[in-house]
Amino acid sequence: MNTVLAAEAGSTTARNLTITLFLVFVAVTLAITIWASRQTKTATDFYAGGRSFSGFQNGMAIGGDYMSAASFLGIAGIIALYGYDGFLYSIGFLVAWLVALLLVAELLRNSGRYTMADVLAFRMRQRPVRTAAAVSTITVSIFYLLAQMVGAGALVALLLGIKPGTTFLGMDADTAKVATIIMVGALMIIYVTVGGMKGTTYVQIVKAFLLMGGALVMTLLVLAKYKFNLSSLLGDAAASSGKGSAFLEPGLRYGVEVAGNSTQTFYNKIDLLSLGIALVLGTAGLPHILIRFYTVPTAKAARKSVLWAIGIIGTFYLLTLALGFGAAALVGGKAITAQDKAGNTAAPQLAEALGIDFLGGNLGGATMLAIIAAVAFATILAVVAGLTLASSSSLAHDFYANVLKKGQASERQEVTVARVSALVIGAVSIVLSIFAQSLNVAFLVALAFAVAASGNLPAILYSLFWKRFNTSGAVWAIYGGLLAAVFLVFFSPVVSGAPTSMFPDQDWQWFPLSNPGILSIPFGFLCGWIGTVISKERNDEKYAELEVRALTGAGAH
């Protein structure tokens, strides 16, 4: 069962088909975007899609916003290479939605308008809090964007089968990477500037259906191959991994036990706990997720969106379990690492193997590969569009309109600035991604979650539930959590001092954990508390207004 991605015979077909399907997706989404731009007249249209989406639509869009390439390709790849541990990741990503459902979604929807900062600054002095929120929103979004865009660049060379030494349309693999980054960046800028939240939402909905469809078909084929006997799939995966039953247990990737080095083992296990905490607490602090709750008319619809999102995301992660173990069993770890050391091509390779099996021959394999590769690109586009929208909204609504213009900007000016911001943020991301493309930046997704959990989440929860909370507390929580997470990661092995580091040849590492959450999250909460109690500011009237509005929906936008 040794399939080589884009085997010579099928490679041209697969490549042409991938490009065709991808162009169809781009054409359809651009058409939607132009249609959406005609419906986008007010600031509410641009920032919140006119609040006209149903709970179901928004639930699908949340799924499309959240299930990034890191989920689809990354988790399937981790499972394919390291077995059980990829599942650990997806469980954190799913359980996290309960924080959003129980504590954040409805209250945020009722009391905010366009951005996360609307709620944080509700009863505070506007300028310091909105500045902090904008800094944090843009930091988190750019980290996330970089990981996605660099990932897209790396994928395209692999998925189009551009090997070192060969060219495609006159481009070698490195040029193709840069071209992909620029193209992904240009498309996300167009989706956001032209289509606003409405366009972005529909792109995400379309992507969610494509991704679910693709994953479902592949899962059914994998299970069919094993006559729907999960145990024999697992057995086959374990056997072909060469690691036996350890492949089906935690410990090959996270919390690794290093024989004879109890200190490292200790740190590895703490690192696993740290990752787990950041995953589960990060989601409800991700700005691009939070602004999705403003696209529905009521708190009840926001609740329904999260319920649908939990349904679709949970189902998807169950499917990735089958995909990952299926890839381990049917493609094999060796063939996967030969394509990509991180395992990101496991799902497309599995698609190819399944196509060869079920559709017949290399043409079948090429077809399946092309479909899944196109789905992977669609996935990346939908996620980066959401991130660009979140950061440009915050830059325009929080920083420009409320900090620079002190709330005196007109709606039109604000939306114009938002569009320009999307262009600037997109351009900056493209440039940063091109510089970062040879670096290992996969850790940036986990870092984005850690920052969201350490800075944004404490500020949001204190805002909504703690009467005494004030400007100083909000500013302390956001900057404290943000800086702690970034500081610790900067001195961790993911940045320097290890072969897999971002800068493998440098070494300034002294912090032993790759994931800062276990320290930075409590630190963020602590900062929020200290900042609050050292300030005399206290506004019971505004808290009464916030609480009543958040719980009842009175005066909601």
């Binding site: 129980l102 696993l272 009464a544």
Partner: protein, 123 residues
């Protein structure tokens, strides 16, 4: 700021109005209904998830125990149970909110009704 009262403001300002609502028994009941569900449930799912992560880190033998004479082990079942509990809590909350929270919130909102806002959070 956002609730600046114009010259022709009613006798009772919006701010006083919200304070009065917040201090009412009905609102206290709503707050209790919400917090009484979401706080304990948050603690519960967090501990349940933490237990799973801790066992994954420190109880590998237990997690590796095979069940039903197949390749399915405790770790897999435990992980799947996290999915089940997430779906279950989501469903329970939605049922609870429909019955105990929405009707009260709707009633209070209707009572506040006449207090309107040009701007909520500034923007």
């Amino acid at each position: 700021m956002s609730t600046d009262t114009p010259a022709s403001a009613p006798a009772e300002s919006a701010a006083e109005r919200y304070l009065a609502v917040q201090r009412s028994d009905e609102f206290a009941g709503l707050r209790r209904a919400l917090r009484g569900f979401v706080f304990p449930m948050t603690v519960a799912f967090f501990l349940w998830y933490a237990l799973y992560v801790i066992l994954s880190a420190y109880a590998r033998d237990f997690m590796g125990t095979k069940l039903f004479g197949s390749n399915i082990n405790v770790a897999l079942v435990f992980g799947l149970l996290q999915f089940v509990s997430t779906f279950l809590i989501a469903w329970l909350y939605s049922r609870y909110a429909d019955r105990k929270i929405d009707p009260v919130a709707d009633r209070i909102r209707a009572e506040i009704g006449e207090v309107t806002h040009e701007h909520g959070p500034r923007g």
